[in-house]
Symmetry: C2
Subunit: 367 residues, 2 copies
Amino acid sequence: MKAPLLFLCLLAAASLATAAETPNPGRGPAATTKSPDVQPDRRVTFRLRAPKASEVLVTGQWANGRAALSRETNGIWSVTVGPVAPGVWEYSLQVDGLSMIDPGNPAIKPMREPRTSILHVPGQPPLIHDFQPVPHGVVRQHSYYSKALDRLRELAVYTPPGYDEQTAQRYPTLYLQHGSGDNQATWVAHGKAHWILDNLIAQGRAQPMVVVMMDGHASPPENRTNNTALFERDLLEEVLPWVNASYRVKPEPASRAIVGLSMGGGQSLTIGLNHLEQFAWIGGFSSATPSREAIAGALAAPTATGQKLKLLWIACGKEDFLLARNREFIELLKEKQIPHEWHLTEGSHSWPVWRGYLADILPRLFH
Amino acid sequence: MKAPLLFLCLLAAASLATAAETPNPGRGPAATTKSPDVQPDRRVTFRLRAPKASEVLVTGQWANGRAALSRETNGIWSVTVGPVAPGVWEYSLQVDGLSMIDPGNPAIKPMREPRTSILHVPGQPPLIHDFQPVPHGVVRQHSYYSKALDRLRELAVYTPPGYDEQTAQRYPTLYLQHGSGDNQATWVAHGKAHWILDNLIAQGRAQPMVVVMMDGHASPPENRTNNTALFERDLLEEVLPWVNASYRVKPEPASRAIVGLSMGGGQSLTIGLNHLEQFAWIGGFSSATPSREAIAGALAAPTATGQKLKLLWIACGKEDFLLARNREFIELLKEKQIPHEWHLTEGSHSWPVWRGYLADILPRLFH
């Protein structure tokens, strides 16, 4: 075991010593560097100690979310914004042009390149993605060695309230994909998928279901050209058989959905339409829609495709940069007379929209 | 739903567009900003795009872990270090004195103030904390509203391999606490407790057990003065009864352990020694040891204390800044003739030492 460096020891010492005495370990009194600091009126103060910086900005997803921090004493920068509307908002700090998480905030959006923190302002009354006093499911983290991909991978599985008690019951399964910047943890940590499910199940608006959240980045970092095909292999050869064997899920395609957003929307539409023997429910949010060639089989037999589909649900926002691509895809489905639902909504290519889409599609699944 | 800002949309567009074509979405070719980039010979390259920075350093937990990055073209800084020994190492980037995570690395040490990334270099053959081809347990994430603390909290529970199949079996429980900079996710994400357990259970060296990992910061950020007492309330009034009702665990104190590191070592020693009716196995790693007053009851009846204890296991490293405090605590136990084990080891106040301590104590529990 290597002896750690002195500076780490000293950091730990400072942190431990102050933890017992001050609100903000290792950084002096809380008033000076607490960030984000949410007041009861929903105004929010951001603070950063950066003595050598020339410019510090916060760029947030809430309305008028860009603000310059001002330099105070001791090299601490701060700004108070808002009131900020209830929601789960992304933000970054820009320090002399370098985009970074807020180091005062433990809530980080899980990303391949983490530069984004989370500001969660609960609603009064609670919003559909807020934690509410209802029965709660569990999110399970699994590490697995994918033989198909020859490397260690991670996935998350939501099981609904009661899963561990009602040991005779079997559940439908939703395979839920993230976008290109994200990973298997993002739908829970940032999308609040688990709380949306808890709330809709408690309201009797969604079927209790098992939700499988994989890492959508299946190709190695050196070569991303074949990602959807590799993801499909990992899903169909490894994960789906393992889920069927390990979780109490219903085996038939009428009890299995595949849904995703952006890159994951493209994966869900492509894999779903090519594997209607596995998935009868398919959804795409702000999708990187597949080409004609990528779903040639489904298009070549549109009547059979329509008969196997329980639901093909596609949504995109009016300000989404993928709107034209989604409109083209809808035209293609119309041309082939493949039954589908098309939801043109307000909003853009962003998580506030996708949380809403998840809350919209869940009540439609498995009826 | 608020319309997101244009810059977020453009970021997403850039990320999505490049994801299909280049190895490093939104940042150009991988060769320029991939970080950390681990070569087969275990040399590691760190890279950061920071055009306006004057100085960029990497400060890592491996041997000779401090290195300056050099400015290359396009405002990208880089340095190659090592070979780095196999291990799970912490590191930060220091950009003009601002300590931050490596934004190229999705592996972040869960902390109250996240400034630390994780570089995991697996061993050949695998180390005790490496993922190995053995049966694997599951880590379950729970959100709960603590009535004792009147706020939303998070905890993680490890269940051993087979837990979901062997539905008649009951297991012993380990309550495992983190240090003052960390949170409920740190023992898994950084400590690799789940893999240490998987490996020791597979080797027949540890009993299959349920491990409960709470958030050790029970007091509100405004006032941390009473943290151990508040943590004890949350543990004993909320979490322990809930675990006993929700998980198939054995109810008697001889099947329950409480162990922690640093601040969490202090919590474990204090709560354990004050509640021998709940915990017969107690361990402290590099502990912020309790005062005489904090464990006055156990000290006042040392014979009864010794009779109830199955194990009191205390370890500290020779370079740990808490060594003197631990030695004093050992002297106190000797003075009172309370049976204990004292492990004076190599190393300092750091996670490489604590992973080793966990691997050392687990085989001792529940025999």
